[in-house]
């Protein structure tokens, strides 16, 4: 299943946020979206996931979602968006309650999602009892439970400390490694982008336009190799060179606002 951003533009009142953004996320592909602060990355993701109506253009999918997918386009949120009154198990079950699965099927799906995210021992815990990293794992388990075709991840690691980020990044690499599931990964962090993405869409400062699409010439498996570090760093520097001037301008704009 492909996800297509087709000439998407968006305004919040008089403020133009996105301007004619087009690209395609192919089945099983991970596309990162980077750009200066306020360039409309999260807005674009909301539009792609159907949570925001664009002012112009459209988001559409082509091709059939994988068999058994209960929610082809599934978000992983920056702030986890867990129901604080539900246990880990209940949070993972929440999106399954209205899908027609019976109790035994739901149990099987939940068990599988918790096992894949190493949360089986925490199924009865409440979110307040978990660390930030564990909470995001619950968010990921909830997303995996509906067997998505494409994960829409809005800075999923930005609220976490660096060690937890590293651990979860390893999880993402593992989960997205098979190619069965694609992702759109919005991030400020260029290191995360080059580590995870197959292609990186660089947006300009507001109103965000596609400035460049950078392909990563290494498989995710190869990127773990020590010899690939230099290449990845060079790519990261190349991306930073693209963004730097606009990031400074965007920062100044925020200060003067």
């Amino acid at each position: 299943m492909d996800l297509i951003a087709d000439h998407i533009s968006h305004r919040f009142g008089a403020l133009a946020v996105l301007d004619d953004v087009s690209f395609t996320v192919r089945a099983g592909e991970v596309v990162a979206i980077v750009g200066p602060s306020g360039c409309g990355k999260s807005t674009l993701l909301s539009i792609l996931g159907g949570l925001l109506q664009p002012s112009g253009g459209r988001a559409e999918w082509r091709g059939a979602p994988p068999p058994g997918s209960l929610n082809p386009l599934t978000f992983v949120f920056q702030d986890f968006a867990l129901l604080p009154w539900c246990t880990v198990e209940e949070n993972v079950e929440f999106p399954l309650l209205h899908t027609g699965l019976d109790l035994a099927e739901r149990r099987a799906v939940i068990d599988d999602a918790l096992r894949r995210t190493s949360l089986s021992d925490f199924r009865g815990s409440y979110p307040k009892q978990l660390s930030g990293g564990m909470r995001q794992r619950v968010g990921i388990a909830r997303a995996l439970a509906v067997r998505p075709a494409i994960l829409l991840m809005d800075e999923p690691l930005s609220a976490l400390d660096s060690q937890t980020r590293e651990l979860l990044m390893e999880d993402f690499v593992r989960l997205l490694g098979g190619g069965a599931m694609g992702a759109v990964y919005v991030t400020h962090n260029l290191e995360e982008a080059v580590r995870l993405a197959d292609r990186i869409v660089v947006l300009s400062r507001r109103p965000g336009k596609v400035r460049e699409v950078v392909a990563i010439p290494l498989t995710r498996g190869e990127r773990g190799d020590i010899n690939a570090r230099g290449k990845l760093l060079a790519l990261q520097n190349e991306l930073w060179a693209l963004i730097r001037e606009e990031a400074i301008d965007a920062e100044r704009e925020v200060q003067h606002a």
């Binding site: 996931g49 949570l51 929610n71 599934t74 949120f77 702030d79 129901l83 009154w85 929440f94 309650l97």
Partner: protein
């Protein structure tokens, strides 16, 4: 050998050349300054203070320092409560008041929850509802009792309606405030999983608004108690309010204060019940 950090600090002090101005800036133990601003309830202090006040009050009564007609001693009030209980009058008055409070509170709460949710979820209901609530909420509801008597006749209905009105506005406000306070990211999350509207209301908005709704219950319980006493004082033969008024008219201050103590105990019991509800329903906080 001094560390680099120490040397730099020493050098900085030498450069300024100014000695410490007072004791607070002199080298030495770091003075603790992080105490206070964390008051804790509990312990025996509250009960001891209450016992001391009652003891002093009893002493003042027994020693004849105050006229028992104006302020009867606690023992006299206890005797009055005992006599009321034995005669059956206590239960008679209390049951009538509880019936009025219960009926009024339930009616007002149901209506308040429905209207509060409508205001919290619908733009049309919000536009209309907030205007009406803003206009009518400040009216002291007891002022409407004579009008309600005209409309509904003399009997239980106007008293129950007065309580229901008082409870309704506070409940509606606490419910729509609670709905507004539910984090929007949770609603967007549910929508992103195609969870239907009714399930979002039941599984996201209702539990998210519950803390505010239960806080509202605490307020409406007090409002109901206040209104039942006021309504019974205006036009009732039975009920704790009517009993207190009659005792006052007959200068039976021990009975009057017995009624006040019963009201206080009733309020405490309701508060305890709401605490229990909160502990049970909001254990996840």
């Amino acid at each position: 050998m001094p560390s680099a950090r120490c040397s730099m600090l020493d050098r900085a002090e030498n450069q300024t050349g100014s000695p410490p101005a007072d004791r607070d800036t002199a080298p030495g133990l770091v003075k603790f300054r992080g105490g206070g601003f964390t008051p804790k309830a509990g312990g025996a202090s509250g009960w001891i203070a209450l016992a001391l006040v009652i003891g002093f009050w009893q002493l003042a009564g027994s020693a004849g320092w105050v006229n028992p007609l104006f302020l009867p001693a606690p023992s006299a009030i206890a005797v009055a409560i005992y006599k009321l209980a034995v005669s059956g009058a206590l239960w008679h008055h209390l049951s009538v008041s509880i019936m009025r409070i219960g009926a009024g509170w339930i009616l007002g709460t149901i209506a308040g929850i429905i209207v509060g949710f409508a205001i919290g979820l619908s733009s049309l209901a919000r536009g209309v509802g907030i205007t009406f609530i803003s206009a009518l909420f400040p009216i002291p509801k007891i002022a409407l009792l004579p009008l309600l008597i005209l409309w509904l006749g003399i009997g239980e209905q106007p008293k129950i309606a007065t309580i229901a009105l008082g409870v309704f506005f506070s409940t509606a406000i606490s419910v729509y405030s609670g709905v507004d306070a539910v984090p929007r990211n949770l609603i967007r999350m549910a929508q992103s999983f195609n969870v239907p509207f009714h399930a979002i209301v039941r599984r996201v908005i209702w539990p998210g608004a519950l803390p505010s709704i239960l806080s509202g219950f605490r307020i409406t319980a007090s409002v109901a108690l206040l209104l039942v006493v006021s309504a019974e004082m205006i036009g009732a033969e039975f009920g704790i309010g009517a009993f207190v008024l009659q005792a006052g008219n007959l200068m039976q201050t021990d009975q009057l204060l017995a009624g006040v103590v019963i009201l206080s105990l009733f309020g405490l019991a309701v508060g305890r019940l709401i605490n229990l509800l909160e502990t049970r329903l909001l254990h996840w906080r």
